[in-house]
């Protein structure tokens, strides 16, 4: 049913992603689908890397660990954004298109009043891409 799964990851909160990561792995193994882990970074130095190159290396390392753990091949895609606090959804939507993914599996929070002002990334992604989106509550 699915051939390419995209898994957006926030490396700063990798500890909160385990359910989504496991769900993505289950889908991948069940449908024998390829998995791409995608992360969004700024050009400026940050806690996850002092430049996009370092960030991409960290993301690749993270993905390799996932691949080894679940036993499948992985790809990564580090998207560079001028303003990731705001452009995250757009960057992810672009990554879905460029990767040709037909399923997105991602973690999302329990909605609260803040979602009226800033809707969840998963929700926005579902309304801005053709791919199926599977949201996993932490």
């Amino acid at each position: 049913m699915f051939t390419k799964i995209l898994v957006p990851v926030d490396l700063a909160h990798a500890d909160k992603l385990s359910r989504a990561l496991d769900a993505a792995a289950d889908f991948a193994l069940h449908y024998k689908a390829a998995v791409t882990y995608v992360g969004v970074t700024a050009e400026t130095p940050g806690s996850l890397g002092h430049n996009p190159k370092e960030y991409a290396e960290r993301l690749a390392q993270f993905a390799q660990e996932q691949g080894k753990r679940h036993g499948f091949e992985v790809e990564t895609r580090a998207v560079v954004s001028h303003d990731p606090a705001v452009d995250l959804d757009k960057s992810l939507a672009r990554a879905v298109k460029e990767a040709g993914a037909d399923l997105v599996v991602m973690a999302t929070h329990v909605p609260n009043v803040a979602d009226h002002f800033w809707p969840s990334h998963g929700g926005k992604l579902a309304s801005h891409t053709d791919a199926s989106v599977f949201l996993v509550r932490g």
Partner: protein, 537 residues
């Protein structure tokens, strides 16, 4: 290198090895449903001390006004030579870097590519840097210098004329007036911005340090920069930025209100001004929430488009040939008078040197952390030479053209047509008085008032982004509600000062921060030179 160290940016670059991890001092929490990721203690101390300063100024208005105004006047009159000398050093430093081999160093590593096209980049540089000033001073300053130079008193100690003035000689007074105005808006202010921007960009994109003002001082303070010396530098930068923006917003609302009254008869009162601040703040909020690309950049481009339209209109319907030939004549006058105007010693034009030049330099310097940091953020991928030419030379040429078109047209209205409305109008209305003597005055005046408001929005949104980044310890991906907080806070401070009084007092204080920052900037030149020396080129 280990995971904790700093690996290379794109391509070769000389790196600073530090164990400090960006965001390690940050507090990450939630306030109600909203996330928060702020630097401890920069965010809290900046926010609280701004509230305390505003309350104290409101409570002790007269005393605060007197103290800060005296402080500013004392600094600009006692240390005028220091401001002028420092300004010259900044210009020479930048010109030296343009022609030196260090010009080949690329911001972000040797293989980095520019993030923005020239159009978007210039638009953002200009809109953040000085747009609003050009609207208000483009007409009034050339007239002021022309009038004081032409007056019989020019050259006396009471005169405000630049250098010795040109009593009774209209042509020489016009030339000097334009040269003196351009002097305040061309190389020197942009060299100030360029020094801050280049140093921040270099230490962030090439050396891997966080994008905050403290990073520039790593070569001087070393690891201590992550402690209190760094906290104080960042807090000062937040202070100067917020008060600079809030007081300008307050005054801007007064000026925009006067313009709207002049055009549409909208009453000049507190309600109108508060509504204006509210509108500007709302647009700034929408812009920062939309982000750097969809908000700030797009608005800056619209802003530049409108400004170019107005400029083109004045050139076409104004004295076209006079403006076009005046451009080269004024550029020449500026170059010829530059050594005399920038000379810090042995001059007798105290009022001009202290009241205009030193004040301007302090003003530009107090704005430099904000403008410099914003320019730094959008300049990755440019070489040092390309960066400095773009930040120094292009704005200089635009400023000369703008001043020639607006100021030159106004002076020509006075000298050639005997049109005195421009001289008689209040400062904030001089632009409109000039436009009234040209065709289609309703349309151009309306565009001008829109431009005034949009220029405030573009300063306000980029300022809020900068304050948010500094108070988040250099993180640019902190939760969006923080930007909303700073943009709203700036509007509220402006309203409090407008209603309670104290706009002048706190603007004087903001300008006074120009003095310590001048020292900071001189150190930044040294740090940048050291930083560039170790870069591959």
């Amino acid at each position: 290198m280990s995971d904790d160290g700093i690996p290379a940016p794109e391509g070769d670059a000389a790196l600073i090895e530090t164990d400090y991890e960006i965001g390690q001092d940050n507090i990450t929490t939630t306030v109600g449903p909203f996330g928060l990721d702020v630097h401890n203690p920069v965010f809290l101390i900046s926010g609280l001390s701004i509230v305390v300063f505003v309350l104290l100024t409101l409570a002790l208005q007269e005393q605060a006004g007197a103290i800060f105004t005296q402080l500013r006047d004392w600094l600009t009159s006692t240390f005028d030579w220091f401001f002028l000398l420092a300004g010259n050093i900044f210009v020479l430093f930048c010109l030296f870097l343009i022609v030196s081999p260090y010009g080949k160093v690329r911001i972000g590593g040797m293989e980095a590519t520019p993030d923005y096209s020239y159009r978007g980049w210039f638009a953002m540089l200009f809109a953040a840097g000085m747009g609003i000033g050009l609207m208000f001073y483009g007409v009034s300053e050339p007239i002021s210098h022309y009038s004081s130079s032409f007056a019989d008193t020019a050259g006396t100690p009471e005169s405000w004329a630049p250098l010795a003035g040109a009593p009774g000689d209209a042509e020489a007074a016009r030339r000097l007036g334009m040269a003196a105005t351009i002097f305040h808006w061309a190389l020197h202010p942009w060299a100030i911005y360029a020094v801050v921007a280049l140093s921040l960009a270099l230490f962030s994109f090439n050396k891997g340090l966080p994008l905050t003002v403290r990073s520039v001082f790593y070569p001087i303070f070393g690891e201590r920069i992550w402690g209190w010396p760094g906290h104080i530098i960042d807090i000062l930068a937040v202070f100067a930025t917020l008060f600079g923006l809030a007081t300008s917003l307050g005054f801007g609302a007064e000026q925009a209100n006067a313009g709207l009254n002049h055009l549409f008869g909208i009453p000049v009162n507190d309600v109108s001004k508060v509504i204006l601040i509210g509108i500007i703040t709302c647009f700034a909020l929408l812009s920062v929430v939309a982000g750097l690309d969809a908000g700030v950049k797009r608005l800056s481009e619209i802003n530049m488009g409108l400004a170019a339209l107005l400029l083109l209109f004045v050139i076409i319907v104004g004295p076209t040939m006079a403006i076009l030939t005046g451009f080269f004549a004024n550029l020449k006058a500026y170059v010829v008078d530059l050594p005399a105007l920038s000379n810090p010693f042995g001059r007798s034009d105290d009022n001009f040197r202290q009241g205009w030049t030193a004040f301007y330099w302090a003003w530009w310097i107090s704005w430099s952390p904000f403008v410099g940091m914003f320019i730094a953020r959008v300049s990755r991928g440019r070489t040092v030479r390309e960066f400095l030419i773009a930040v120094l030379i292009v704005p200089m040429l635009v400023s000369v053209l703008w001043m020639t078109a607006f100021g030159g047209t106004a002076i020509s209205q006075i000298v050639n047509d005997g049109y005195t409305a421009v001289t008689e109008a209040a400062l904030e209305l001089k632009l409109f008085a000039m436009l009234e003597a040209l065709p289609l005055k309703e349309i151009t005046s309306f565009i001008a008032i829109i431009l005034v408001i949009v220029f405030f929005v573009t300063s306000s949104d980029s300022g809020s982004l900068v304050i948010d980044t500094i108070t988040a310890g250099g993180k640019v991906d902190a939760p969006v509600p923080q930007r909303v907080f700073w943009a709203s806070f700036e509007g509220l401070v402006a309203i409090a000062l407008l209603l309670g009084g104290g706009l002048g007092a706190l603007q004087a204080m903001a300008v006074s921060t120009g003095f310590p920052f001048t020292i900071v900037l001189l150190l930044a030149c040294y740090a940048t030179w050291r930083g560039l020396r170790s870069e591959p080129r």
